[in-house]
């Protein structure tokens, strides 16, 4: 059997629409991540929100992705020509709202049940 040729760094993805070239559009305000940065990563083959989050910190700041998550999903959907509903939304992790460590010491009100569900280890596909 013949060996297939190694593939390159990922397929270049086209992205059009939205902001005009040259504009600096900040997608994640907590971590200062721009639209150009997101598009560049998608073009290099990082087409899941989990990867983009881990490379750029997008969505890892105090607001935990409340605004940027949808924007990144829309970009991924556009670049991969998918319906946004079919792009894996990534996992939300607890706590649902920031908790002060000193306030979490035993005796503090808890458990914040809402924030502790569904953080299992299903793999993203």
């Amino acid at each position: 059997m013949a060996c297939a040729k190694p593939e390159g760094e990922g397929a270049p993805g086209g992205s059009e629409g939205g902001a005009a070239a040259g504009d600096v559009v900040v997608i994640c305000r907590c971590e200062d991540v721009t639209l150009d940065e997101i598009r560049d990563l998608i073009a290099r083959g990082y087409t899941t929100i989990e990867e983009i989050k881990r490379i750029t910190r997008c969505g890892m700041g105090p607001c935990q992705g409340r605004t940027c998550r949808q924007l990144v999903l829309a970009e991924i959907a556009r670049a991969t020509a998918k319906d946004i509903a079919s792009v894996a939304p990534g996992r939300f992790r607890p706590p649902t709202k920031p908790v002060r460590l000193g306030g979490a010491v035993a005796g503090a009100p808890g458990p914040d049940v809402e924030g502790f569900e569904g953080d299992g280890d299903e793999q993203v596909r």
Partner: protein, 383 residues
Amino acid sequence: MAMNKCADAVIIGGGVVGASVAYHLAKRGFGRIVLVERSYLASGSTGRCGAGVRQQWGTKLNCLLAQESVRMFERMDDELGFDRSIEFKQGGYLLLAYTDREMNQFIKNVELEQSLGIPASLLTPAEAKAIVPMLNISDVLCATYCPTDGHANPFHVTYAYAGAARRLGAEVMTFTEVKGIVVENGKVARVVCDKGNIDTRVVVNAAGPYSGLVARMVGLEIPFWAERHQILVTEPVEPVLRPMVMSFSRRIYCQQTPHGSFIMGMGDPNEPHGFSTESSWKFLVDMAREITRVLPPVGNLKVVRQWAGLYDMTPDAHPILGATPVEGFYLACGFSGHGFMLAPVTGRLLAEVICDEKPSIDITGLDLGRFERGELVVEPSVV
């Protein structure tokens, strides 16, 4: 339609260990190398870890492996040509002793470390407080400190290794799962993936906590279990904590990343073996209690996120590295909670073994056979 191909080596697992093995094999020109990862790179333990790198260990072998890895982390940004930094920050590790037993162990450890050229030293509580002013030293007996320990960004290290491997011609297949391995006449012949088969004579098992399951695909049982460990991160603040602070008896560690957030974790001695990665409120409460005793001002910080990952544990808390009774099947697993820091040197050692070179550090004692021979190398200093 499934795609079949062939390779000179297939590495199973796209965590930091698999990525490092792929890079080091590619660098040696071993031929066609394929890294297979069932999800995205660093989706397993690697992307969930504390990413601390310490050379303060209780066995000579762990000291030597970690010391060499530190040298490799120091050069990594230049060597791998990644477009972001791996963020290796050498702020040191400060280990705290609260019991006589711990103190005696620390005295032995420092003696060993110094004999190997690791710049660790034994400190009084007051000297420790000079390094970490917010430290509560009321019940600390002594501390050890090594200024060249530190931590790095685990995603960036993994992506940097994988990117460099790709540029050297390796193929990285993400979202591809290994379902089986075909052995013919005692030799590895083929890897069966959900996307097709790969003919190969060499397979490296770097499947992290799932390595036991992958080993069974060739009929090997390895003494090995997975264990959940939880961890959390706070909002970012100004830099105030230079070293990683760690206590074995309290089972905690805490560091401030270059980004400003505090990352901290805690082991639970009653944690059952298994693959659960659920987060628990109990962890947050236990962690908060311990950390506010050790570093009281940290109580003012807000936790923005918590998560859990798996340790890949062996009975002696040392990894299992090298060849196995199945020809062509190699192990790089069982890192027992410190596989991030050992990944650079592990990748190089595995590549040396596979290429029939003399390993640059003698790892014959870390083979799978040690468990049958009863020659365990027990590490006393783990969280």
